[in-house]
């Protein structure tokens, strides 16, 4: 036990001695949490809107005015021709073009029906879908006003059958993205720091040649490994703590569930990451290789965690791949406990899988460590 404590002490000293690393370990993640959480939003706002009004009547102007009044569309440009508008869209200066045809008002009064052209830049398919909904909504509302303006009062219609929907947004009524993203980004930062540090650590001793020295000392391998990894576990837990405080203070993220449960889960989760780091360390000869492999897995972990894109929309085989992604479980647990107040029983499946993962990963890591050295 004493030996382990000495190793831990030594490792901590080494970490704190490296002045170049300190800001990277302690400041960079916090800074990113605070800044980048604001970037992650799927809301579609500030749509750059252009229109071509070939009609120049009060109706066409009223329609454009509706778009002007909407908060979603913010840059309104009047283009004299379709060619000019298209060229601006090619340049990326315009997202949506509305084209009002000649004799728009006259035809509408005559036919009671008219169409107009909407062109949407659909490279980002999801955003284009939302933009389409906004445009349709505005035009529908305009249609309703038209009825009131143009129909005679006596011309009362039969009441159409309507199914009224009442949307209720539980746990996040204002649809605030930060509530959703801050816990997720915190998960990523904790994972990245602990994985990169542990993944590089032992391979560094190999590269510099000090690992051989340790192997000839009376320190047991298990003591060495625990002593090596413990400081990173502490750093991970520390980062979680600071992150949670900032989440509360800066972003006012609700914390409905039990903090103790959160810490308990995280304490096991970090063991998984450290196990992966150690395993990578064992199979590489240089820090560069270790970092490349860590990076490889981290990118997969991030993009397939359900943090930014939904897992249930992935193809079946990919969903199976995500079962092996520890970040997925951490993101789920963090959001469930913090935002919905899920309890121990609710997160039990994730907890068990994470614990099993930790057991297997560390077992493999220790086994391969003995075998290789």
């Amino acid at each position: 036990m004493k030996t382990i404590l000495y190793i831990i002490q030594k490792e901590f000293k080494q970490i704190f001695r490296n002045k170049g690393m300190l800001p990277i370990i302690f400041v960079l993640p916090i800074l990113q949490l605070v800044i980048l959480s604001n970037a992650a939003t799927f809301e579609v706002k500030n749509i750059k809107f252009g229109y071509i009004d070939n009609d120049h009547t009060s109706t066409s102007r009223a329609l454009v005015e509706k778009f002007n009044a909407s908060t979603y569309f913010n840059v309104l440009t009047d283009f004299p021709s379709e060619a000019l508008a298209s060229s601006e869209m090619l340049k990326g200066n315009i997202d949506v073009i509305l084209e009002i045809p000649h004799y728009f008002e006259r035809d509408l009064q005559k036919e009671k029906y008219n169409s107009l052209g909407v062109t949407i830049n659909a490279i980002d398919g999801a955003a284009a879908g939302v933009e389409n909904v906004y445009v349709t909504q505005i035009i529908q509302r305009f249609n309703q006003n038209l009825k009131i303006d143009l129909l005679q009062v006596s011309d009362k219609q039969i009441q159409p059958i309507t199914i009224e929907t009442i949307p209720l947004f539980w746990y996040n009524e204002t649809l605030n993205y930060k509530t959703f993203m801050v816990p997720g980004i915190l998960v990523l930062l904790v994972t990245m720091i602990t994985l990169f540090l542990s993944g590089m650590n032992i391979v560094r001793e190999k590269e510099i040649g000090t690992l051989e020295q340790i192997n000839v000392t009376p320190i047991k391998k298990s003591q060495f490994i625990i002593g090596k990894l413990f400081p990173f576990w502490v750093i991970g837990m520390g980062l979680l703590t600071v992150g949670l405080i900032l989440a509360k203070v800066i972003f006012n993220v609700p914390m409905v569930g039990s903090l103790a449960l959160m810490y308990f889960y995280t304490s096991i989760y970090i063991l998984v990451v450290l196990g992966i780091g150690l395993f990578i360390s064992n199979f590489t000869d240089t820090q560069q290789q270790a970092m490349f492999i860590s990076w490889f897995f981290v990118v997969i972990f991030i993009l397939m965690s359900g943090l930014f894109t939904p897992i249930e929309s992935m193809p079946k085989w990919a969903q199976i791949v995500t079962e092996f992604n520890p970040v997925k479980y951490f993101v789920e647990v963090m959001r469930m406990v913090m935002l919905k107040g899920s309890g121990f029983n609710d997160i039990l499946p994730q907890l068990l899988k994470t614990a099993l993962y930790a057991f297997v990963m560390n077992g493999l890591a220790v086994w391969s460590y003995k075998k290789i050295n």
């Binding site: 604001n38 909407v118 539980w170 490349f292």
Partner: protein, 368 residues
Amino acid sequence: MKRFIGFIKKEFYHIFRDRRSLFILFGMPIAQIMLFGFAITNEINNVDIAILDHSKDTTTEEIINKISASKYFSIKQMITREADIAAVFQKGHVKAVLNFEKDFSKNLIKDNKATIQIITDATDPNTANTISNYVNAILQQYQKELNKDITIAYQIIPQTRMVYNPELKSVYMFVPGVMTIILMLVSAMMTSISITREKELGTMEILLVSPIKPIQVIVGKVFPYIFLSIINAVVIVLLSIFIFKMPVQGSLFLLGFESVLFIITSLALGILISTISATQQTAMMISLMGLMLPVILLSGFIFPISSMPLPLQMISNIIPAKWFIIIIKGIMLKGVGLQYLWKETLILIGMTIFFIGLSVKKYKIRLE
């Protein structure tokens, strides 16, 4: 010049001797682009929902059938009590509950009006909002069927045309992003340790006393990696064209030119990191911890930049990946040429010169 060529040769040998790293270097990007190209989508399909039907009549049954027939939803369970809603959300089993009011059909006949609550788990605001919109769209369609005898006067119908990606494929959005992230991070990581390694292993002093000029050292270090990255880029572009059916509407030559430019920008950024950090560990932590999340989040790869708060939109301008993503999408999907992309191209050239200039300056300081 001869000395310089000798130096480049030496660097090539160094890289090609390390087979394992090379294998990792080429294997990883291929594996990643395959995985992400197929898996990542921000479309919403097969969302698990639950139904709470207080009415259980023919109309609600019809609506439930319509919803379960759509590809967006799969009905995971039927619940019977309001109190169960919170429980299914807390377990994380479903993302939404549709709550039909009592006497749904009767109300529809009597008052021409009936109500459904769409209760969503809005911890994920995007999914919640989309679910709500999709349910509404299905219901509107259904209402149209019910109301087909009533003509509604004065209608303006928008004819929407989705350009550059008419089928709204999300692969068109993600493949350029994944290409960019892989190219940028692999390139920056490769060079970020090239000079620090010499410092750490003690061979830096030998370089310092050699007659090779700082600029030559830096260019010599970058040069072999340009080669490797170009191979990487070619493989990635071929995969995205042949496997993911990305179109190349514009000039393939321009795409090649811009890719090489972006690779050089990223390599130069790596060199800059290398000259300012003392150990390999620091260099790699800066290029991984420091670059990964900002590049993923601020480049427009997943999240639209125009929706971000203004200060972040300004910060996104210093992310080289943002400009390259605009360029790739422009060439591949819009088919535009340099006359539309000169600004982005100039920005990348400017960044490259800035990174290299700063590296040379920092490197000189260490000489003294």
